[in-house]
């Protein structure tokens, strides 16, 4: 990797000002994407501002009709949280299947969402569960947060302090993994929250996570696995690569949605 200045922040505000003050500063959360990128010399930030020491950014809080997960909470802690497991088991199970144990022991929800990898799992949870992304500057609705692959509406010096998930009536996440990377080739979160049915798809879209409105309509009318499976998704706007054609991804969206409905009950 190229040389950079390493800074360790004591608070979210301190981190934000350090990044803003730097010539080309970057927040360092779990580093599960950023560090490999640096090692391959694909990025050359002037400063890395490490968020690891900020205790305010870690933890999971019960908000009654919601759960708030602080930005630097690791995947393993979401997966093992009794609160998450009892209130939103789909989210705990999603976190438990991100990457491998090493990734889950380092990677964080805030880091994953700020990176917005088009095949990451958490974006499907945020959009499917209609979560709110809370930053040091504002609250952003899931609908407004994602802005294309590896792109979000986060501004310079803006960092994710927490994510608030409303408690769904039913939800489940099904992932068909890329055989090599084990990222989602197609991952689908289906949820019923406050009478609203949502189906969020990661891994498949050229612009990152999206809502499969055709399946949402089908499930709103008839919450059943067969209804989801019967939807023939268009392959417009879907990724095609050596691992999957757009057509295969379109097909897998319906199949994974249908299996998620079965799992959600």
């Amino acid at each position: 990797m190229y040389q950079f200045n390493y800074q360790k922040a004591g608070s979210a505000d301190e981190a934000a000002s350090a990044v803003t003050a730097a010539e080309d500063g970057r927040f360092l959360a779990g580093g599960m994407t950023l560090i490999p990128t640096l090692k391959q010399r694909l990025a050359q930030p002037s400063d890395l501002v490490d968020l690891a020491g900020i205790s305010d950014l870690v933890g999971i809080e019960d908000g009654g009709d919601s759960i708030t997960i602080k930005g630097m909470t690791r995947h393993v802690d979401v997966a093992n949280s009794d609160l998450v497991k009892s209130k939103i088991p789909a989210l705990a199970s999603l976190a438990d299947n991100i990457g491998d144990p090493q990734v889950r022991n380092r990677g964080t929800i805030g880091g994953s969402l700020a990176n917005n990898d088009p095949a990451a799992d958490y974006p499907a949870a945020v959009l499917g569960l209609n979560a709110t992304v809370i930053t040091n500057k504002r609250e952003i609705a899931a609908e407004d947060y994602f802005d294309g692959m590896f792109t979000t509406v986060l501004e310079e010096g803006e960092l994710i302090t927490a994510v608030r998930f409303p408690i769904p009536a039913k939800a489940a996440y099904m992932k068909f993994p890329n055989p090599a990377s084990r990222y989602a080739l197609v991952g689908v979160m289906v949820a019923q929250t406050g009478g609203d049915t949502r189906v969020a798809v990661t891994g498949a879209g050229q612009d990152g996570v999206f809502r499969a409105s055709e399946i949402e309509s089908a499930l709103s009318a008839n919450w059943s696995a067969d209804a989801a499976k019967a939807v023939k998704m268009s392959d417009d706007g879907l990724n095609a690569d050596i691992h999957a054609s757009a057509e295969y991804r379109a097909h897998l969206i319906s199949v994974m949605a249908s299996r998620a409905v079965t799992a959600a009950g």
Partner: protein, 792 residues
Amino acid sequence: MTGTGIGASVKRVEDQRFLTGNGNYTDDINRPGQSHAWILRSPHAHATITSVDISKAEKADGVIAIFTGADMAADGVGGLPCGWHIHNKDGSPMLEPGHPPLAHEKVRHVGDQVAIVIAATHDAARDAAELIEVDYGVLPAVINMDAALAGGTLVHDDVPNNRCFDWEIGDKNAVEAAFAAADHVVSIDLVNNRLIPNAMEPRAAISEFDRSSGQYTLHTTTQNPHVIRLLMGAFVLQIPEHKLRIVAPDVGGGFGSKIFHYAEEAILTWAAAKVHQPIKWTAERSESFATDAHGRDHETHADLALDKSGKFLGLRVATKANVGAYLSTFGSSVPTYLYATLLAGVYTTPAIYAEVQTVFTNTVPVDAYRGAGRPECTYLLERLVTKAARQVGIDPVALRKMNMIQPDQYPYQTPVALMYDCGDSPATFESALKASDYAGFGARRAAAEKSGKLRGIGISTYVEACGIAPSAVAGALGARAGLYESAQVRVHPTGSVTVYTGTHSHGQGHETTFAQLVSESFGIPIDQIEISHGDTDQVQFGMGTYGSRSLAVGGPAILNACNKVIDKAKKIAAHIMEADVSDIEFADGKFTVAGTDKEMAFAEISLAAYVPHNYPIEEIEPGLDENAFYDPLNFSFPGGAHICEVEIDPETGDTEIISFTAVDDVGRVVNPMIVEGQVHGGLAQGVGQAMLEGCVYDDAGQLLTGSYMDYTMPRADNLPNFSVATQSVMGASNPLEVKGVGEVGAIGSPPAVINAILDALAPLGVDDISMPATSLKVWQAIQESSVRQAAE
């Protein structure tokens, strides 16, 4: 009895240091005054080098020196040689275009070496490399073999149509006659997918030059240090053996990819004498993907002629094999003598003819990878035979049985040069059918159907030739080196033993298995025995480890040296115990005089040999230290039967291996636990080839599968609990009666997996799928069949 002799599942003695982080790998070694190298590589698959401007780079912080291809060419450095000479059909020699260690005037694959930057630190070298300005004249790349053979773009200007050679084996007329008389002809077109080896340890090297002695030393990640000394010393750098030391310390896996003499070894060794300080280089994983020699990459059309009853009459094979941009060390032998000489397989096919064209492309060289030619051959045969069974309407088990070589037919002369010394394919096949409950498959398929799954079963019966090789045979076929092995057995005064072997262990467990041979021979426990390998200054000579040769060729060398020790020790014992040598018996580590109670322990004799106060000095020399070279009588021919059972989720194409049964004939088993581990590892690689691994270049020659994000290595959860067993006919061509085991898993398994997948898909009318049979391909095959069926 020591309990550590032949047949004992002794725990691997080397694992203690490997598992506790105490291994001594090349990158763990640091030499005083060491500098670091970064190799600047071509980003283009095919380009002329118009100019290389190092003026900015050489002024960068920490830079010691920068060398380019022009510097090496000006110094008269030779090209990397190919170790096996092949002739065309018309008798003319294969074309061997130059392979300069640092590309000169032209680059021919992404990753081709363009310059070496030597600096005080790794980062400084890499930083400076970014300041080198290379002016490339980008040329069209040729990746596909048919396109390459059509000419147009030439990888090497002096190789028309990019054809390295056009070779044949077998009796063409006899095969044509067989086809003319055939009742059935079954044809198949297959691709044997290109694989990227992935040893856990990437390649690395440290070079040194001693100005006072003129001695070069290279620590390198190789499977065969003496071969590197020979190839690099004699052909590339003109350094005589006594001035060149090659050390291969602990090496973390090779699978063939560390046999070859790589450019970096020559570049570093040459440069060490320029900068007068040690130079260290360790490949990054991305470099491993892009520059380690790849494996397989065949396209084949084959026809099988059968009579009315299903008897095989003739086999005709036409193969195109990709050798990449340059001929690697064994690039020419793998798709010829290691491939087509096995086309009889386990069958009595009387007439066989094969032609092989090898093709240069703008891709990294292709060379031996676990199995090397034999997986390609086995895949072809076992797919073809399975297809024949379906086409002709004969049960695949029955068709195989009726064509198999019977045990009383050995030694069996095949129509393609090899003579199988011994074997019993019907026996291993029968055992595998039983162990896999083949007869009960129908019920399991029906049960799977009820849960919406497609279940299939696939068979592969195989034989392979390994234990490379009798030197005379190899030489007659074009090998440019002998293929014997050597051993020195040095008994120390107190009776402990050091064995120097010319083979090299990079995961195989030689330090245990070879010690067991000595333990058996001398009747001493293995903790008294050290196996030493890898340093050309310590080990007398050797040809290294590949082609499952270490035990079959290296083992008898150790045995013969042990026997020489025992012969000499008996003379010492006879002298001391005042008996005739013919009355001295040796068993369980004790020398006894027949018919008396006189005895001397092994260590007493060794002490006497080194403290020869009471010694037959007029008859024999002091010391107990013997050397032996062993050249085998024939290859060894392991074989067996692999049976795979899969279940497919038709909605997604997801395929799960439910069970995998392997019954292998590997001759005498020295350490059953190590043998089982070797078979497991081979099976994992075979399953990887069949279902997961596939190297993809785009049309411009960029490697799309250049990391684990896109290249699917098999993981534990891709594999079932293997059911493996050995059932052996003792090897007939070496005194240990052993055969090779390192490659059998990777050779036998891919067609078993694919045949199982095709069996599962057969009810849908699917009759072909290519490796790797990923979920995507399985799903597509199902879709195409439903579209076809709907249309019908």
